[in-house]
């Protein structure tokens, strides 16, 4: 049995075995918080949650509470939500607008750009010399507003976010861009937050491109909950990818996506049999996107995970998920639901209803995911169970490394993406430098070039 700190043995990518320890062990989990979650770029929120100066939204990074805030000048910040004096949360509201964060404990106050402003009895008790600058709220090291989505890292040596994304960028782009091909332009119409008893990596891996778990959604496919379900159509989503070549891609940074490439004769596929307004709108978006992006419009996103814990659904139900670790066997899921800000009312109304019936703990599709993640975690905690690693041998070697999309591209359902994810997870756990964390040299394509 491998030692718990011997990550090369725990994660045997070549043999296709990954130890259950990394999904249940408390010590490995503590190390993850330090070695993965204080270094990688993490999703914090979206600019539409803080549209005006003074707006704030409390979020999480790893296990810790942070405040996403737009200061009085309009600049966006992310701070640790903890007073520098005794650690009390300076904000216990989810969202709002303020000119100051006042700590309830001893009334230190902070401005919206994180600076310590008020210290009661500053002159008498601190001789008037307390260094306010040094006692500002702890800020993230780097922050990026990427097409409206807000990302941050605690590591000042981390590469910029675009470099971090690598070739996964164009896939994430399509979750963030307008349906008609314009860049950005999305808004969050609501956020689900819930806690489920499973290791966070089950959720991250599910969205990496684990298309193999499709049978677990048989119940929704049987009854039909898709766009045309009321007209009698079965299945859980529309048919827009029915003629597409699906691709599963593992990127050297640890990201993974399942996207699709439409055939050369990229034609709109009718999707709203009982709603002519929606049919017309989405047909318009399709044609407009094709006009703007040309050949590029053939690439459609499906799902993906940006290492380590941000997943997206690129088409419908479109959104970004953050899988916040709570404990080795517990995770807090957050899903930010996205629509085009300027989509017509009918489209927004349809989308929000579809998102609610599909996604999250009240969603007919994803309820079954949570059941799987829970009992897979629960049945892996035992002493005997831990002796037997999970099997990751699916589609070994069935990928190409010279595809124009970059990364390891597979044309069949594959665990190559998961293997790539855990290979990179291992590099983080071993304290690799950023050169290695971005995937070189690790025998991957860039290294070979």
């Amino acid at each position: 049995m491998p030692l718990r700190n011997d990550f090369d043995q725990l994660v045997d990518v070549k043999g296709g075995f990954i130890s259950r320890e990394i999904f249940v062990d408390a010590d490995i989990y503590r190390q993850e918080l330090d070695k993965v979650f204080t270094r990688a770029w993490l999703l914090v929120g979206h600019e539409s949650l803080v549209p005006n100066p003074g707006d704030f939204y409390t979020s999480r990074m790893g296990e810790e509470s942070v405040i996403l805030c737009r200061d009085k000048k309009g600049e966006i910040h992310v701070f640790l939500n903890s007073c520098r004096h005794r650690g009390m949360k300076v904000c216990r509201y989810e969202q709002g607008n303020t000119s100051l964060f006042t700590c309830p404990y001893h009334s230190w106050t902070y401005t919206t750009d994180g600076k310590l402003q008020g210290v009661p009895l500053h002159r008498t008790l601190y001789d008037g010399v307390l260094d306010r600058e040094a006692n500002s709220l702890v800020s993230v090291a780097k922050l990026c507003n990427y097409k409206g989505s807000i990302w941050a890292t605690w590591d000042k040596n981390a590469p910029d976010f675009i470099t971090y994304l690598g070739d996964a960028k164009i896939h994430l782009d399509q979750a963030l861009d307008c349906r008609d091909g314009r860049e950005g332009g999305s808004e969050v119409i609501g956020v689900h937050k819930w806690v489920f008893p499973a290791n966070w990596k089950f959720a991250a891996e599910n969205f990496l491109g684990d298309t193999y778990h499709n049978p677990s959604h048989r119940s929704v496919d049987l009854i039909g909950i898709g766009p045309s379900a009321a007209a009698g159509k079965k299945g859980r989503r529309d048919d827009e990818l029915e003629k597409a070549q699906h691709v599963w891609i593992s990127f050297p940074e640890g990201h993974g996506v399942h996207s699709a490439i439409q055939p050369e004769a990229n034609e709109y596929i009718e999707s709203f049999l009982d709603n002519p307004i929606l049919e017309q709108y989405f047909r318009h978006c399709f044609e407009e996107r094709k006009r703007r992006l040309g050949e590029g419009a053939r690439l459609l996103p499906f799902v993906g995970t940006i290492f380590p814990n941000t997943s997206y659904h690129g088409r419908q139900p479109r959104g970004l998920c953050a899988w916040h670790p709570h404990s080795p066997t517990s995770t807090e899921g957050w899903r930010f639901f996205l629509v085009d800000k300027d989509a017509p009312k009918e489209a927004k109304e349809y989308l929000r209803r579809y998102y609610m019936r599909y996604s999250g703990p009240a969603g007919m599709t994803e309820q079954d995911d949570m059941e799987n993640w829970l009992y897979a975690t629960a049945a892996s905690t035992g002493t005997v169970a831990r002796r037997y690693p999970f099997n990751y041998q699916q589609s070994m070697g069935a990928y190409v490394t010279d595809h124009p999309l970059g990364g390891d591209v597979s044309l069949q359902v594959t665990e190559q993406i998961a293997r790539g994810f855990y290979r990179r997870w291992t590099t983080y756990m071993q304290g690799g430098d950023w050169h290695e964390l971005l995937g070189s040299p690790a025998g991957n394509r860039q290294a070979a070039e």
Partner: protein, 200 residues
């Protein structure tokens, strides 16, 4: 400035409630007993897993709504604490069609989040009639508030307790009382359950 927000809040809270409390007449108590009986019957149908029969208790135009509850500053509760029916994302903002789909899904026998079925008990209490139309002794439509405690035990060790309040509109039909509108206020912010597979 704060006072203004609070005043607005009180006004907004006062707005949806119907004027004065209904007089506690014999007619009120007769009707209240009927409504309680209806709720106990509803709970039986759900807990006995007679989901299709439960659907029959809903009007065809039912609006079934469970907002997400948020932590907001004092004075902003009415305006901001709950997500709103008909906009954005809530836990449930459903019509009869989606509720029927949820029932159909459980009845496939392969909805793994409810297969094997959970053991669930619905407790209903604090029933009060807050509005009666056209009047209490010949009511065709009622506004009723109540509290619920829903206990769910699943597979072996999974246990969830959902506590909250319901604001219903009941309508009298040829087949007795039916639920035309339901608002479910679960007393949680972050959902402390992996799933919401039960009906409330």
């Amino acid at each position: 400035m704060t006072t203004t927000v609070q005043d607005q809040d009180r006004q907004q809270q006062a707005a949806p409630a119907t004027n004065a409390p209904i007089e506690r007449s014999a007619a009120y108590y007769r009707l209240k007993a009927d409504v309680e009986d209806f709720y106990y019957h509803e709970a039986d149908l759900l807990d006995d897993r007679r989901f299709r029969d439960w659907l029959e208790l809903l009007t065809d135009d039912i609006s079934y709504f469970m907002p997400i509850r948020r932590n907001v500053k004092f004075g902003q509760q009415a305006a901001r604490e709950n997500t709103k029916r008909g906009e954005g994302i809530s836990w449930f903002d459903e019509d009869k069609w989606t509720l029927t789909k949820r029932v159909e899904q459980i009845l496939t026998g392969v909805h793994y989040a409810e297969e094997p079925l959970s053991r669930i008990t619905h407790m209903v209490s604090n029933v009060q009639i807050k509005g009666a139309r056209p009047q209490i002794d010949a009511a065709r439509e009622l506004d009723v508030t109540s509290r619920f405690l829903v206990y769910q035990n699943r597979v072996e060790y999974e246990t969830y307790i959902f506590v909250g309040r319901r604001n219903d509109t009941l309508r009298l039909t040829d087949n007795g009382w039916k639920i035309a509108r339901r608002e479910i206020l679960l007393e949680q912010n972050i959902l402390l359950a992996k799933n919401l597979t039960t009906f409330f």
